[in-house]
Structures are given as structure tokens and as C-alpha cells.
Amino acid sequence: MAEEQNREKKYIPPGMVGTYMRRIGESDPFVREIQDEPSALRLYMDTCTKCGICAQECPVYYGQPDKRMHPVERSRQVIRLYKKYTTFWGRFWSTIFDTPDFEDDDAELFGERMYECLTCRRCAAFCPVGIDHSVVSRVGRSLVDLMGLTPPALAQGTKNSFETGNLEGASTEAFLDAIGFIQEELKEETGVDIPIPLDKEGAEVFFLPPSGDVLVYAENLMGMAKVFYAAGIDWTMSSRAYDGSNFGFTTGNNFSMKYENKHYVNACETLGAKVMVMGECGHAYRVMKFMASEGRWWGELSFEITSGFEYTAELIREGRLTLDPSKNAEAVTYHDSCQFAAGCGIVDEPREILKAACADFREMPEGGYTQWCCGGGGGLSALRSVREFRMHISGKKKAEQMRETDAKIVSTSCLQCRTQLKEIARYHKMPLKITGVHELVNNAIVI
């Protein structure tokens, strides 16, 4: 009974879906720059030939080939709402026939379905018409977010970002403690004082890792600190903005996406850095480089934006780093994260780094621009509630590929992928170690 009442609360008041849908499509001054999504949706709904190629290439449909997991069917859920409330014929027919907003009249189910898309863009890479279903799913997620039905873990992360500036909700003291600890580790490991400068005004480089690389996977930050030290770069981090991630992009919340981005743009400008180097988070880098910067959300920026991969690869090319591949003697393979590969076109740089830092680098089957998603994309790896889905359905293909590779270490470029791959390896009992790219640089770099 209590469950029924609870479920009832999640239904949307009559008429509200239309209000929300129009709000997404309206030219709200704050989100005007990102209005391309409903517009793309409009083009997509007119041109899809329903040829089924997207399903053939979709990791989720591969894991469970039925109608519910079909990208076109998922997009149809959003498009019917879009048509109903924003097109003439949609409004006309809905006044004659009183159709429910959601199939089965269940908003919660709609929310679940929007989070069954990994937003990996593999469909866009192979669709003969060029349809990107991740864009449609994101519009659906915007709607889910406006209805307050975003999965709690993601909603909490977004809330934490607002309140503390990082997804984990860690305090500045905790951050400073972690930095102190990492510096001690660096000293202990190398015998050299490798500083992690904080709030250093006028430094050339502002480094922005995802907070997970400070608080959980510190080896990545250690690797990056060694890279800066070895190449003699004047760099800094910020004690106010130390989380280069973006859950607003994932949840479809445009306000949050822009707020999180503004946070570290302000920090970089305040510190007067010339280059913003971003860590191993594909979502944040894509939003910063290809949306905020190119879309001029904050006008002309006074600094360049690059990723840690491009930065380190360039230093290796220039001969400013010495790496000893024998320190990573085991066979290593690389999993391309969707956002870095399909979203940012960063494919070669991580490979250049790994080939320089590892003695035995091997390609993952079908790696590169059109890689298969790990199954935790689009924020799913943060959701314990869909673990079975991630292990058996969305992650099925990646599990098969991981089994197929004869490498001992799987390196990846994104925190979300890392979490998912770790779980896959553990769940399917594969003796594999999952690392970040700069974690292997951390092992191999000669100081």
C-alpha cells in the first residue's frame, strides 16, 4: 500500500508534461545556446528511415535484443511528447483524442527508459541518415529531471556540485588533506619533492582533474604531477574548483551543466592561467572544449583548453619526458571512453602515451573512434540500482571483448568507464587490473 502511494506520487499532474516540454523547447536566455538539442530532435523525427542499423550497433540492444532496448523505440517515447506539445498536428490530435502523456501512464517507467541509453553515440557513427539518439535521450532526461525523477545518485551528485563544488560533496579540508597525502606519497616513492601547487596566481597551466582522481584514484593525479614536474611546467590547481566533471550534461539539466562549467572557468580566469589542462573525465572535457568554448557561453576565453592526453602526448613528442616502459611490463590494452573518442575525437593521444609507457600494448577489439561503450556510460556507472543491467545487458559486449583480449591490464580514459570496467572484471571473475592512463605514466616516468 505504501509502495502504491509512493508510486502514485511520481505521476505527473495533468498538463504539466506539456509545460515542461515547452520549457525545454523555449528560448530561455540562459539555455539559448544549447537549443540545438530539440532542433536536432526535430530533424531526426522527420528523417529516421527505421532501417534498424542503430539497433545493430547499440550495446544495450546487443545485450537484450528486444523492442524496449531499441534506440528508435526509446527516442519515439520522447518524440511523441515533443510532437504532442510543440507541433500543430500534435496539439490538434491531442485535443480530439485524450491520449496519456506516457505509455502505461507511467512517468517513472519513462524515466527508467531514458537511463537505458548509454549516450555513447555509436548509433550516430553508423546511422546512414546521421541520427544521434543520444541527443534525443538527453532531451528525455531533461524532461525526467524537470519532473524530479532523476536517479537519486546522479541527483545527489548534481546537488553536491552546487553546494560544495564537487560531486563527492567533499569539504575543502578533505581536499587539502588528500593533496597533502598525495604529496607525501610522491616524496616517499621518488625521494624528490614533487609539489602540487594550489591557487598559484600567474601559473602557466591550471590543471583540473575530476575529484575522483584526487579522492579515489590518486595515481592519475600523481602521474600528472610527475609529468608537470619532469617537463618543468609552471602549474597549479585550485582549492575552490578541483572537480572537472559534469553531471548536468549527463542528467540533461542545462542549468547545472552550465553552472558546473562556469565554476572552473572562473577559477582559471582568476588564477590567470594561459592553459586549462583537464583530467580524465570525458563529459567535462567535451562540455568545456566543444560546447562552452566553441559556443561562447562565457564569451571569448582568455585561456586555451586541452586534455591531459593531448598535453602529455605533446610533451612525449617533444622529447621532454623520459618514460621507462619496463616499469609496465605486463600486457596493456586500452578502452576508449565514448566521450573522449566519439565526443572529442581523442583516440591517438592515449595510445601514444601508452605505447611510450608500456612494454606490451595491445589493441582492444574494435577500438578507436567507433568503440563499444563499457556499459556504464551516460552516468549509469554511478547507479548501483542498475548494476544487473550494467553487468548483463549494457556491459555484455565489453565483457566479451575484455575476455577476448589477452592483456592483463585494461587502461581507460574516464572515471565512469573505470568504475564500470572494474565491476565487470570483478563480476565476471576476470583477472584484469583496471587503470587510468596517467596511472601507468606514474609508474613509468623517470624523474
Binding site: R32, E33, I34, Q35, D36, E37, S39, A40, R42, L43, Y44, D46, T47, C48, T49, K50, C51, G52, I53, A55, Q56, Y61, P65, D66, K67, H70, E73, R76, A124, A125, F126, C127, P128, V129, G130, D132, V135, K289, F290, M291, E294, G295, R296, A341, A342, G343, C344, G345, I346, V347, D348, R351, K355, D360, F361, R362, E363, G367, G368, Y369
Partner: protein, 264 residues
């Protein structure tokens, strides 16, 4: 003149053609307006339409945006994809066979119609008639093939609805009636010109081109009426979606440099 023939040749076209033009115009306007919001401000904007178009910020959903690529490479990929559907060939050969042959047949059908309006001589007329016949055969056979694929392949069948079957059947009717007209000897250039003059001058000129031609005209007009609301509209949107993605890679089925399966 029979009522049916009169309706198909002299009544319906005055509805179907303007309807098609207006609806297609609306669709293209909507796509472009969303793609380039400045178009909404044209009346109050300074500079030429082209300049306004150029300086507008484009959508941010580009695929593989960081990749260096030359304009030449982009064009080569676009032309390859456009002419040979190479992207489709690499992913789904079963679909490619039907899809490419259908479009190739349609191109032959359109090309052959030059015989109706240009004085090309008897010999070339025969060649073009043959071209049309081949085109119609290709369209009809591949149309049936694609319809079967739609019914037989699960991932296609489960997302196909009534409107998709309707537009496919109308396209098939168009191809089949075109084939029948072609096998029947076709329509002569004189008859076609007389009909067109009659159409544009609102005078009814009797054309004795056989029953299949009337059915073909009906199918053509049904196609025009249905097209703006069906997946057949991809013929226009496919080019704009390339702009959205900012690459012709998927068109050509080539995604940057080939990564060897096991490299050191």
C-alpha cells in the same frame, strides 16, 4: 474522359503539387531555422543572409570533433558516401543491396525522363526508354526486397508502424506502375508536353497514354502527399544531419586512421 482519369490528371495535381511544395518548404524552413537561429531575426538583422548564416554558432553535437581533417578528405568521403553508400556497405550488406539498387533505379528513372522534354532524336529516345525500364525494374525488385526485409528482420519489424508500411507500399505502387508504363511502350514526348501545357494553362488536353499511366500518376501524387509525413523525407534531412555531425565519416564508413588489431 472518364471521371477517374479526369480527377487524377486534372484535379488532384492542383492539390498534390502545391501541398508537397508548401509542406516541403515548411520542413526545410523548420530545420534551417533551428539549425541557424539567426534566420528568425532576418528582418532585423544587418548584413546579407549568407553573412548571417556564416557567423551563426552551429549546434554542438559534432562527432569526432577533435580530429584534424582536410576539406578535400571531407569531400571525398561525402561523394563516396553519396554515390556508393559505402558506410552502409560496410555495416549491413543486406540493406545495402536493396537500398543502393532502389536509389540507383530512381536515378535512372529520373534521368530517362529527359526524353519527354528534350528533343534528343529517335535513337537516344530508345536508349532512354531502355534506361527507364531498367530503372523501374530495379526500383520494383528492390522495393519488394526492402519490404520483405522490413517484415522479416526483427529489429526493423518491431519499430515499423502503419505509416512506414503505407509509404513503402505507395513507393512500391509508384515503381510498379512506372514499370508497367515502360513495358507498355511509355509516353511519347509530344503527349507529355501537351499534358504539361494543358496542366499549366488550366485546359484539359486529352492524353491517350493508357490506363497504367493514369495509375502511375495517381501513385506519384499519393507519394507527394505522403512524403512530407513519412520516412521518405530522409532525402532532404540526410544532408543537414551531416552538418549537425560535422563529418561525412559515417556516410563513407571510414573513421579516421585504421587501428591495427594488435600493435606494439
Amino acid at each position: 474522359m472518364e471521371l477517374f482519369t479526369y480527377f487524377v490528371l486534372y484535379q488532384l495535381p492542383y492539390v498534390a503539387i502545391p501541398f508537397y511544395m508548401v509542406m516541403l518548404g515548411v520542413r526545410i524552413w523548420v530545420w534551417l531555422r533551428f539549425y541557424n537561429p539567426a534566420l528568425k531575426l532576418l528582418l532585423g538583422a544587418r548584413g546579407s543572409v549568407f553573412q548571417i548564416w556564416r557567423r551563426q554558432y552551429r549546434p554542438t553535437i559534432h562527432l569526432f570533433p577533435g580530429r584534424p581533417r582536410t576539406k578535400r578528405l571531407e569531400w571525398v568521403r561525402f561523394v563516396k558516401g553519396f554515390l556508393f553508400f559505402t558506410g552502409l556497405w560496410k555495416r549491413d550488406k543486406v540493406l545495402w543491396v536493396g537500398s543502393w539498387l532502389l536509389h540507383f533505379g530512381l536515378a535512372l528513372y529520373v534521368l530517362g525522363h529527359a526524353r519527354l522534354i528534350l528533343p534528343l532524336g529517335l535513337q537516344i529516345d530508345h536508349v532512354l526508354m531502355f534506361v527507364i525500364t531498367v530503372g523501374c525494374w530495379l526500383m520494383t525488385v528492390s522495393g519488394v526486397y526492402l519490404l520483405f526485409r522490413r517484415v522479416l528482420v526483427q529489429r526493423v519489424r518491431e519499430i515499423t508502424d502503419f505509416r512506414d508500411y503505407l509509404s513503402d507500399l505507395i513507393l512500391l505502387a509508384f515503381s510498379f506502375t512506372a514499370l508497367m508504363v515502360a513495358l507498355d511502350g511509355g509516353v511519347s514526348g509530344d503527349e507529355a508536353v501537351a499534358y504539361l501545357i494543358g496542366f499549366f494553362t488550366f485546359s484539359q488536353v486529352g492524353v491517350d497514354a493508357g490506363a497504367w499511366w493514369v495509375w502511375h500518376m495517381l501513385a506519384l501524387q499519393a507519394l507527394l502527399l505522403v512524403m512530407p509525413f513519412s520516412h521518405l523525407l530522409h532525402f532532404g534531412g540526410i544532408f543537414l544531419s551531416r552538418q549537425f555531425l560535422g563529418t561525412s565519416d559515417s556516410f563513407a564508413g571510414e573513421f579516421g586512421e585504421k587501428i591495427p588489431s594488435k600493435s606494439q
